[in-house]
């Protein structure tokens, strides 16, 4: 049974439609991420699941029960906010115990549950302190403890890491995933950060302008984007105009502007449904820059010039030109990066590429 099911959800604010007819199934125990730029409708969707907003149309079910008319306090959800939303006038233990007061829990059980929740987030010592006495990362853990101590049917996380600084954010990411695994709670996570989304999710829902662009595992979405938006939003891609000239069980033959004919395996082009105009997608890290005089190999090879280099320590981002076409490549640096103006050879394997139909919808 799916933990959460959205069917044909529409949300309008006055004349503006924030979510267009969205349907989505969230399996029990899974970690699902709603990913997209700000204004894409991901937070609106989360708030509708939470019961903080009413959908204009469509049904929301949680564990098979329609909850459209169930108020937030009866939905049994754990909600974690970007700004933590801890109660400043209550101690950490009182914050964590807050939800238990409204459930049938004895005093002794309450203390036990609070203690184990604090243990789970690895802050067993702070129960008697006030939220303002804790660091941002600690506050976020307490907010998480408060949300999971009530054993919610669904855990909803609204950009919970974005207020933390970069190093802490990566630690919390691992921590959050560990806790979610340990208690197995169905989790809906909202973020605009693609690396968070890719690292944490079982399933990604990429959204744009109130519409779902693609649903899939992080690998699916990254390797075989369903739309140009997804290809551009996740990672850095070279997206070139192409024409599909042949499509069979195993390969798609594409005539790519500036490159020529490329045969891409069929499993990399699941969204291509026939011959005609298409987009050719080549990830920047799959385009390898080698010295101009390197011997040819089985890879496709293009002659090019380095126009600019963005040095990043372990890797370099190259801005390249081959004929009239500009490329970006992100390569690990082996010895020294190539310099500006250097003539190089660009290599890629067709099976690392993907292709999209020209118009996705």
């Amino acid at each position: 049974m799916s933990a959460v099911n959205l069917s044909n959800i529409v949300k309008r604010f006055g004349a503006v439609t924030a979510v267009h007819r969205m349907s989505m199934e969230i399996p029990d125990g899974s970690f699902v991420t709603l990913l997209g730029p700000s204004g894409c409708g991901k937070t609106t969707t989360l708030r509708m699941i939470a019961g903080l907003l009413d959908p204009s149309e469509g049904d929301i079910t949680i564990r098979g029960k329609r909850v459209n008319d169930v108020p937030i306090h009866k939905r049994n959800l754990g909600l974690v906010f970007q700004n933590y939303a801890l109660f400043p006038h209550k101690t950490v233990a009182e914050n964590v115990a807050f939800g238990l007061k409204y459930r049938d829990v004895s005093r002794a059980d309450m203390d036990k549950k609070v203690k184990s929740a604090l243990d789970l987030v690895q802050l067993p010592q702070v129960g008697s302190r006030y939220p303002r006495e804790l660091s941002g990362g600690q506050q976020q853990r307490i907010a998480l403890a408060r949300a999971i101590v009530i054993e919610p049917d669904v855990l909803l996380l609204d950009e919970p890491l974005s207020a933390l600084d970069a190093n802490l954010r990566e630690d919390m990411r691992v921590e959050l995933k560990r806790i979610q695994h340990q208690i197995g709670v169905t989790t809906v996570f909202v973020t605009h950060d693609q690396s968070e989304a890719l690292a944490m999710s079982d399933r990604l829902v990429v959204m744009s302008n109130g519409r779902v662009e693609q649903v899939g595992t992080p690998e699916d979405v990254y390797n075989t984007p369903a739309s140009e938006f997804v290809a551009r939003f996740l990672g850095t891609s070279n997206i070139l105009d192409a024409r599909c000239t042949g499509l069979d069980q195993t390969t798609a033959r594409l005539a790519v502007a500036g490159i020529g004919d490329v045969e891409v395996p069929r499993e990399k082009t699941p969204h291509l449904d026939g011959e005609g105009a298409a987009k050719f997608v080549l990830r920047a890290e799959k385009l390898i820059v080698v010295a101009g005089d390197a011997p040819t190999d089985e890879r496709v090879s293009l002659e090019g010039v380095v126009e600019a280099v963005d040095y990043q320590g372990q890797a370099a981002r190259y801005f390249l030109r081959s004929g009239d076409v500009r490329f970006q490549a992100i390569n690990m640096i082996d010895e020294r990066p190539f310099g500006e103006g250097q003539t190089v050879s660009l290599r890629f394997r067709p099976r690392d590429c993907a292709a999209l139909p020209e118009k996705t919808r």
Binding site: A50, P71, I72, H73, K74, F81, A85, P88, G99, Y102
Partner: protein, 288 residues
């Protein structure tokens, strides 16, 4: 001069105009009043300088003064409670409204553009014998004769609430504005109803604002003499009216000084108690 020495002096330079004004216009006159309260008014009407405790004995010992002081504090307390009950929901509404917050706040400030005395007197046009309400009651045939509604304790309290409500609303509003709205959402997600969330989270967090508004309402109403003068009857005099009476009517400055210092001591100690528990910061936030 070193840069640190200059920085250390800077606050005093910036404060000096205000400090001069406060000293000359507040502390020096206050010192005069303290001195005056120990003088004696002789039978001839002249003030005799010296150190006499007669005024203080009269002010502290006479049951007449004590009764009026108690009724003043009672009126101030009722006014404060009414302001809190009426003002809190209004402040909550303004703090939680989305688009038209600025207009609502402007409307709240609007009464300050009209003199407090004019605003107080406007009640005569509403509640007076030939006022709007009597006209309405007579027109619909509810009463035959005009009803005397003015000049009692209720109208004094009405006038005070009218005058002080914006102070209460502003203070509570500022406190509510400082509370993150997602706190209530968080409480609801944990299982409390909207009302429980308000009681558990929003109300306790807004108490400092309520206390600041309450202090202002109490102090200002306990110190007023215009409202009872305009809207009260002969028996509704408040403590400040006694000071007015002593100083202006009887020209007994020494007694008036002792009485006013008594009121100052009582209201001042309230402010000190407030300051001890909540600090002046909240009050300043509400006034700014």
């Amino acid at each position: 001069m070193g840069i640190e020495a200059r920085q250390a002096r800077q606050p005093w330079i910036l404060l000096s105009p205000a400090l001069t004004a406060v000293t000359l216009l507040l502390f020096v006159p206050l010192a005069f009043i303290v001195v005056y309260s120990f003088w004696l008014r002789t039978a001839t009407g002249a003030d005799q300088a010296g150190f006499y405790l007669d005024n203080w004995r009269e002010a502290l010992g006479d049951a007449f003064y004590r009764d009026i002081l108690l009724s003043t504090l009672r009126i101030a307390a009722i006014t404060t409670v009414v302001c809190a009950l009426v003002g809190y929901p209004a402040a909550y509404f303004i703090a939680r409204s989305r688009g038209n917050k600025a207009i609502l706040l402007l409307l709240l400030m609007l009464p300050f553009w009209i003199s407090y005395i004019i605003r107080t007197m406007s009640w005569i046009n509403i509640l007076g014998v030939s006022g709007a309400l009597n006209w309405l009651l007579q027109t619909i045939g509810f009463v035959d004769e005009p009803v005397q509604m003015l000049y009692n304790e209720t109208t004094v309290i009405l006038g005070l609430v009218h005058f002080l409500l914006p102070f209460m609303i502003l203070n509570v509003y500022v406190a509510l504005e400082g509370i993150d709205v997602s706190l209530e959402d968080a409480a609801c997600s944990l299982g409390s109803t909207r009302w429980q969330a308000f009681r558990e989270v929003t109300l306790p967090l807004s108490l400092p604002g309520l206390a600041a508004g309450g202090l202002l309402c109490f102090v200002l109403s306990a110190g007023t003499y215009i409202t009872p003068l305009v809207l009260g009857g002969p028996r509704d005099a408040m403590f400040a009216n006694l000071v007015f009476e002593a100083v202006i009517t009887q020209l007994n400055w020494p007694l008036g000084s002792a009485l006013s210092l008594m009121l100052l001591a009582i209201l001042g100690s309230l402010v000190l108690i407030y300051n001890h528990f909540l600090g002046m910061g909240q009050l300043m936030k509400g006034l700014g």
